[in-house]
């Protein structure tokens, strides 16, 4: 092993550092036109009329489209994920988003018309020329009121605003409840947040009318499904459509959502006008027009015995899906990393007049872990058990893996935890943060000096590396460099490097000689996309399998050429040589040329060249585990929080590149800190978004994010040959729960019970005031 496991510098960096990397807005084509959207100001309204005549008069405007103008070609988008087939008692009303509003507006920001003009400036001017007559309707903004029988209906063909309902059962919770010594029952509320990647979304679509070929550049995490879906919608064959996801300025989930209205419209318009069309979202639009993370209201209950052992968990919750539900059900369980024999959960997904919610980094697990960790923390307080101790008593023990939960996970496979060893990770984290020393010595000393310092430690599990599959094709080129093509796009995870490491090890080349192409359907068109912490696991293993196959071909051919048995050959430094006889060698490039003869013949049953394509699809996702610990100080006058120490210990199986992994953890924690204490999408009772700018939606900067110390444990996964598990979301998942625990710990005189997320300085102030008043 030469490269896998090492901190290798990234192959893609020089281009990114010198402004030589292509992002969607960098695409510039001759005769390109620009699009701007007119979006609804009202969250719920009937569309009475649209007058585009003034807009069409404006010089530089080429066309304006509305639902009416689209006529028969107007149709709602496809559902991404159908409801889980394997569970009984599932109710699912699929209502997907539309390209342009036809009769009714269902969320503020929904697109009503699109202007195509010679420049973006002119297009935006023309948007203001359009006169829209909207008749406002009563707005459904509150999740619980949405389900009341008196509520106005968002989808009038349904009987209520219930989008989906699912029950998950394991064991017998009612019985567990009866036997319990302690029941912790609480209502916990979780509110909306945005992914807010630094790059907003964008599309460029180019229809070549002469060759009947559509090329689309899209800020998507899933170019292959977009290409397949576009072909279907536009009546084209798949090979007539090429979707390219170039460098993306961050994804975090919402760029996985398909098909946004713009993704449906812009390619269609490109074909109609036979000119390239570009649409780039601006930051305010991003808050309205890109999907968000959810609201959930939980009525949760944990039954325990007097030793703090969890006997069962019950969680009934409402999930806000926004105005449409194209993304199916991405719900997480709330059992955390614990050995829970009885579980009952009833999930109701509800329509509201807000933007569609789809998973953002964590995808339901931050919420699930929040519930599990909060209830356990409250139980620990009541029983007088130390928070670390109560977790140890409940962790799934290492000999119980694979551990079957008998319910389904968010990828609709059975929820099975493949492998893990949780206590050492927790112990390591506690040691690294100096838990005992802090609690016994530092904290009392600092408190005596008047500081409000607190410590928190929480654990999480994460199902990663889920199917269905990914694939890769590896080719040895005549110049000795290796080309690799795979379907997963990149949004900064370092695929160009971590995947190259896998190939370099198998094929004995320098990691910089491995050239990766990702996210281009012309290069590789089988696969799903980058989400759910699965890139390294699924694509990585496909690449590994393909590399193994190419290695076999190399050895077979080299054995013939060098006239030596395969066992005596080794591949290193870009050539194959007979072990210990260096002059008996051939470079990979020469070998590749020999494999593609200009004379002679290729044997039947074999293929030319040194190339192989392989796929990998795990039966279910590998479960990663981690523990975060934090020490913070609260200023009770300003409610500002200073994080003094932050430790993460994660176990994601075999590590491909520790440098890239730590980067993912740092970034995830920063996002988690934002989600815990600074970020919240604020809606008023008319479902109007009140903070649609970075000035009012607060993303943590370098002065809010602390130094993060990362430790590793490696419990390989039995589910794939590399033994890896995913880690892209790990940093973000437990942070809100961690903040709640640490804040409660820092302010013991208030005896706080934090049952909501996100918090903020303002909100903490309110909570403390409430407590002071009641004392």
């Amino acid at each position: 092993m030469n490269y896998v496991g090492k901190r290798i510098k990234r192959n893609e960096d020089p281009r990114l550092l010198t402004g030589q990397a292509l992002f969607v807005d960098d695409v510039d084509l001759p005769r390109m036109l620009h699009a701007a959207f007119l979006r609804s100001d009202y969250a719920h309204a009937r569309l009475k009329s649209i007058d585009i005549s003034a807009a069409l008069q404006r010089p530089g405007v080429v066309a304006v489209y509305t639902a009416e103008i689209m006529g028969e070609e107007w149709k709602p988008g496809p559902a991404l994920v159908s409801p889980p087939p394997t569970v009984e008692n599932v109710l699912f009303n699929s209502r997907t988003q539309v390209p342009l509003v036809k009769d009714k507006v269902r969320y503020a920001g929904e697109p009503i018309a699109v202007v195509i003009a010679e420049s973006r400036y002119i297009a935006e001017d023309a948007v203001e020329d359009i006169i829209v007559d909207l008749e406002p309707l009563e707005v459904v903004a509150d999740l619980e009121k949405a389900l009341s029988p008196q509520s106005v209906l968002i989808h009038e063909d349904l009987e209520s605003n219930l989008a989906a309902q699912m029950v998950q059962v394991k064991g017998d919770y009612a019985k567990a409840r009866q036997e319990a010594d302690l029941i912790i029952k609480r209502r916990i509320i979780i509110d909306r947040g945005a992914a807010a990647a630094m790059e907003n979304r964008g599309i460029v679509a180019d229809w070549d009318a002469k060759s009947h070929f559509l090329t689309v550049w899209d800020t998507t995490q899933a170019p292959i499904p977009i290409r397949n879906g576009l072909a279907l919608r536009l009546g084209l064959s798949e090979h007539q459509v090429r979707v390219i996801a170039p460098f993306l300025g961050g994804g975090f989930g919402p760029k996985m959502m398909m098909f946004y209205s713009e993704e449906m419209l812009i390619p269609w318009i490109a074909i109609k006008l036979a000119r390239p069309i570009k649409w780039i979202e601006d930051r305010r639009e991003n808050f309205y027009a890109t999907t968000q993370e959810r609201v959930q209201i939980h009525d949760a209950e944990m039954a325990l015995d007097h030793d703090g052992r969890i006997l069962g968990i019950k969680d009934n919750f409402l999930h806000d899906t926004g105005a449409y539900d194209p993304y199916g059900l991405t719900q997480s369980h709330t059992m955390g990393a614990y050995d829970v024999a009885n579980y009952y959960s009833e999930i109701k997904v509800v329509f509201t007049n807000k933007m569609i919610t789809t998973p953002v980094r964590g995808a339901g697990r931050p919420q699930g872990i929040y519930i599990a960790e909060r209830l356990l923390d409250l139980a620990a307080k009541e029983l007088g058990i130390d928070p670390i101790e109560i977790r140890k008593r409940n962790f799934i023990p290492p000999d119980k893996f694979p551990y079957e939960h008998c319910i389904i996970d968010q990828a609709f496979s059975p929820l099975i935890f493949d492998s893990g060893n949780y206590q050492p990770v927790l112990n390591k984290a506690a040691t690294m943060i100096g838990y005992d020393q802090f609690v016994k010595e530092e904290q009392p000393r600092l408190r005596a000096e008047g500081h409000h310092v607190g410590i928190g430690i929480v654990s999480f599990v994460e199902t990663t590396g889920v199917g269905p599959y990914e694939g890769a094709r590896i080719t040895v080129q005549a110049n000795g460099k290796i080309s690799v093509a795979t379907g997963v796009g990149t949004q900064g995870q370092g695929h160009f490097t971590s995947f190259a490491q896998i190939v370099a090890d198998q094929l004995g080349v320098d990691v910089q000689d491995v050239q990766l192409v990702t996210g281009d359907t012309a290069e590789f068109h089988w696969g799903t996309g980058t989400f759910a912490s699965r890139g390294a696991v699924v694509a990585g293993n496909a690449i590994h399998a393909s590399a193994v196959a190419v290695r076999a071909k190399i050895l077979k051919l080299a054995s013939e050429v060098l006239k030596a048995p395969e066992e005596e050959l080794e591949i290193k430094d870009g050539k194959v040589q007979v072990a210990d006889i260096p002059h008996l060698s051939i470079s990979l490039g020469e070998l590749a040329t020999l494999a593609n003869p200009l004379r002679g013949a290729v044997e039947p049953g074999t293929e030319p060249g040194l190339e192989a394509t392989a796929y990998f699809g795990p039966k279910y996702g590998a479960t990663a585990f981690g523990t975060h610990a934090m020490i913070l100080e609260v200023d009770t006058e300003t409610m500002m929080v200073e994080i003094k120490r932050y430790v993460v210990v994660e176990d994601c199986g075999t590590i491909l590149n520790p440098m890239i992994l730590e980067g993912q953890v740092h970034g995830g924690v920063a996002m988690g800190i934002g989600n815990a204490y600074y970020e919240k999408l604020v809606y008023d009772e008319n479902a109007q978004l009140l903070n649609a700018s970075l000035a009012d939606y607060l993303i943590p900067t370098a002065t809010e994010v602390p130094r993060i110390v990362v430790g590793h444990e490696e419990t390989p996964s039995p589910l794939n040959p590399l033994g890896t598990k995913g880690a892209g979301e790990a940093g973000a998942i437990p942070v809100p729960a961690l903040f709640a625990q640490a804040l409660e710990n820092a302010l013991p005189e208030y005896n706080l019970e934090i049952l909501e997320s996100p918090l903020s300085p303002n909100r903490l102030f309110e909570l403390l005031q409430k407590k002071e008043k009641s004392q």
Binding site: K9, D25, M198, L694, A702
Partner: protein
């Protein structure tokens, strides 16, 4: 017919003359008029810092300036700082310290740091974090960026000594 103004300015040591609308933003001018797409636009309201370039040596947000305001001035964008074969010490340090992931915010950070390191050749962690608190990164959590700056400071002061 829209009203245009003639401007002449220097970008990355090259003189340009153009006729443009007064309302064209400097960020759009650099990216679409001149094709220098290394400067990225994150918010267009001056908060994220991704569009930062140097204006007569000082960091400014190109999304908050009109191109006509740059008439007669010198702009340095990321393309003018280093090339693939000849990276500026900051660029090289970012790569060594894994201080970029998606790379979208990176040019803005680097250009903000160039004048900072000139004024503070030996900054401590807190000073570095303050200096970059006006730039938002959603990927890295800032830690490796801080490391990269320390590394660059070392490289640049070593170069000075030679």
């Amino acid at each position: 017919m829209s009203h245009t103004i003639d401007i002449a300015l220097t970008v990355n040591h090259i003189k340009y003359e153009r006729s443009i609308e007064p309302r064209m933003l400097l960020s759009d001018f650099l990216r679409h008029e001149l094709g220098l797409t290394g400067t990225h636009v994150g918010c267009e309201h001056g908060v994220c810092g991704a569009c930062s370039v140097l204006f007569d040596g000082q960091p400014i947000r190109s999304c908050l300036m009109f191109a006509v305001q740059a008439n007669g001035h010198e702009i340095l964008s990321i393309e003018g700082l280093g090339t693939l074969d000849n990276l500026h010490p900051l660029q090289a340090s970012f790569m060594e310290a894994h201080a970029l992931q998606c790379g979208f915010c990176t040019p803005g950070f680097i250009l903000t740091l160039v004048p900072f390191l000139e004024k503070n050749p030996n900054p401590n962690e807190q000073e570095i974090r303050q200096a970059i608190s006006g730039n938002i990164c959603r990927c890295t959590g800032y830690q490796n960026i801080v490391e990269a700056v320390k590394l660059a400071a070392e490289k640049m002061s070593a170069a000075h000594k030679e």
